[in-house]
Symmetry: C2
DNA sequence: ACCACGGATGCTCAGGTGAGCAACCTAGAC
DNA sequence: GTCTAGGTTGCTCACCTGAGCATCCGTGGT
């Protein structure tokens, strides 16, 4: 009987959703009362046989967003749907788009926006709409100018976002990581650098991404670290980096010595920020995303469906 | 504007389908009238952004079935959904189940049912429900006893189906293909074989599957043909076989000489049958399915979603 | 044989929703 | 400036649908 009912509920669902017949008509076809049909349909839904997906690059998963807000202490969460996505690139592009959208809608509009740099942030900058705000100044919060492969990408990111909001960009004229601690101290003490760091520390909102801890990291790519150094960090528990600083799954600095040579905003400053938007997408970044959210390094997370589920601990 | 509307329709769809809010509530959230929301929703549906799938082993694709009936001359078509299917085996199992279901519901109940043999048909026999009919006699319509690897599978298929309908099974005591034409003529002339062939020719319904033309064919497996012979048939245009006879994409016999040595029902007899049910599933059988349906070799097709679309010519 | 009980069934009724229609903008032609 | 055609908007109304409720039925206990 339960078996018959299950089969019937499937037949009813086919007629209802595929052929869009009315429950009454289905009743006639299957020789049931329309109330029975309604109950079968409800049963089919409850059993999870009916899957409704919104297939669109801009589609979001509100239910996952809600769960994220509730389970973690996030102020807000944006989760893009991965329905119909085939490549990781597409997923990252969708997420970048969503981050750009979120930035445009951010209220109050930040007077100063602190940003990091990287592939993700650059893509966000491209998706931001012209005139998304009026007079937002953008300041880089971690070092890294001009060493990376396509020189100027980091600068372009900040400039583009600022320009599209009729604001000015302030670049941080320093490498991301210095080889010697005293060099780092010296450069931080330099007036031009210190001013930018202070500006960054006082930003009204932050937008940053994260890197996974492996040889594909942007820091390796840019020549600040070697693949071996990253492997060593992983051995010490690193799951990835944000603003150039490697953290473990609890959000703690993995290598204080290395961190001491890293120029940019302190994690504690991010942790105490009113608005810190992390944009993290892709299957390789589940661990770092979990660490960032779990240790309160951001107040807003923009991510993809799978990463969001990983953060929630819903994956196997 | 069109862009804004598209985005709005996605937002509306999220709230409607994921959060199941009412159109009125959505109107309040998005600052729209409820009619506008209704139109956005309709637009989202029309644009194909809303995908509703019924995820269940017994789910069918009624819309494809209808198109098949309309576009081809089929009396009936059963198309199982491939939503959530990962392996070809699962797809074939679902299709076999559907064929068994169809057989049970076939009206008028056939007094004599002619069947072929093979992996697919065997699986159908397992899925047929005990007592699916009362007093249906089953007769094999093509040769092939006991030569195949697991001897007796062909016989078991017929016996099982007959037994479950409280009927008797009549086996065709002959190889599928003979090496010499005169041996074939002699065996056909033998009274015990001729009687079965006549019985098969007079069956009130037929149920058969199809094989693809490659080295994985059941006929190769059973030792009736070598892989080289099949390759030669393919060179001549063969796309697969039904009841042991290889046909090209137009449904014509590929090799009349070989066909002359094949024991079993003639294709013309199938073509003129009132009820001929073909069960064909799996990605490797798209071509043969198209040939069978296109040349009127069956009146009913039981298949999977992808194969059905291939038959309709919807694939690239 | 009788009764109590849980689950299924059919119904009422209050919303929710889509089709169809009139009013209204808007943009271009003259 | 005026007019017209096409598209959009807000609305009515009839229909569809889900929640809640009374009833029925079969089962197991006494």
């Amino acid at each position: 009987m339960a078996d018959t009912d299950e089969l019937l509920s499937i037949r009813a669902a086919e007629l209802y959703y595929e052929e869009n017949k009315t429950q009454d008509e289905i009743g006639t076809v299957l020789r049931l009362t329309r109330w029975k049909v309604g109950r079968l349909l409800a049963q089919a839904k409850a059993s999870g046989f009916i899957r409704i997906e919104i297939v669109h690059p801009r589609a979001r998963r509100l239910s996952i967003e809600r769960r994220l807000r509730e389970k973690t202490g996030l102020t807000d969460a944006i989760v893009v749907s991965s329905a119909g996505v085939t490549s990781d690139e597409e997923l990252q592009s969708r997420t970048a788009q969503a981050a750009a959208d979120y930035l445009s809608g951010l209220r109050p509009v930040p007077r100063t926006l602190g940003i990091s740099w990287g592939r993700t942030l650059h893509e966000v900058s491209l998706h931001v709409a012209q005139g998304w705000a009026n007079g937002v100044n953008v300041v880089q919060i971690n070092g890294g100018v001009s060493l990376n492969r396509r020189a100027g990408t980091a600068a372009a990111t900040a400039v583009t976002i600022a320009h599209k909001a009729s604001g000015a960009a302030t670049l941080l004229p320093s490498p991301a990581i210095l080889e010697r601690l005293d060099t780092k101290n010296a450069i931080e003490a330099d007036r031009s650098v210190a001013a930018v760091l202070n500006l960054g520390a006082a930003a009204s909102a932050y937008l940053f991404s994260a890197g996974q801890a492996d040889q594909n990291s942007a820091l390796v790519d840019s020549g600040y670290l070697t693949a071996e150094q990253v492997a060593e960090l992983v051995r010490k528990g690193a799951v990835g980096d944000i603003v150039g600083r490697y953290i473990d799954s609890n959000g703690n600095i993995v290598d204080p010595e290395l961190d001491g040579r890293t120029v940019g905003i302190q994690l504690e400053q991010l942790r105490h920020a009113k608005t810190a938007v992390a944009v993290i997408a892709g299957s390789s970044k589940h661990a770092i995303a979990r660490a960032v959210v779990g240790s309160g390094l951001c107040t807003v997370l923009v991510t993809d469906e799978e990463t969001a589920l990983a953060v929630l601990g819903d994956d196997s």
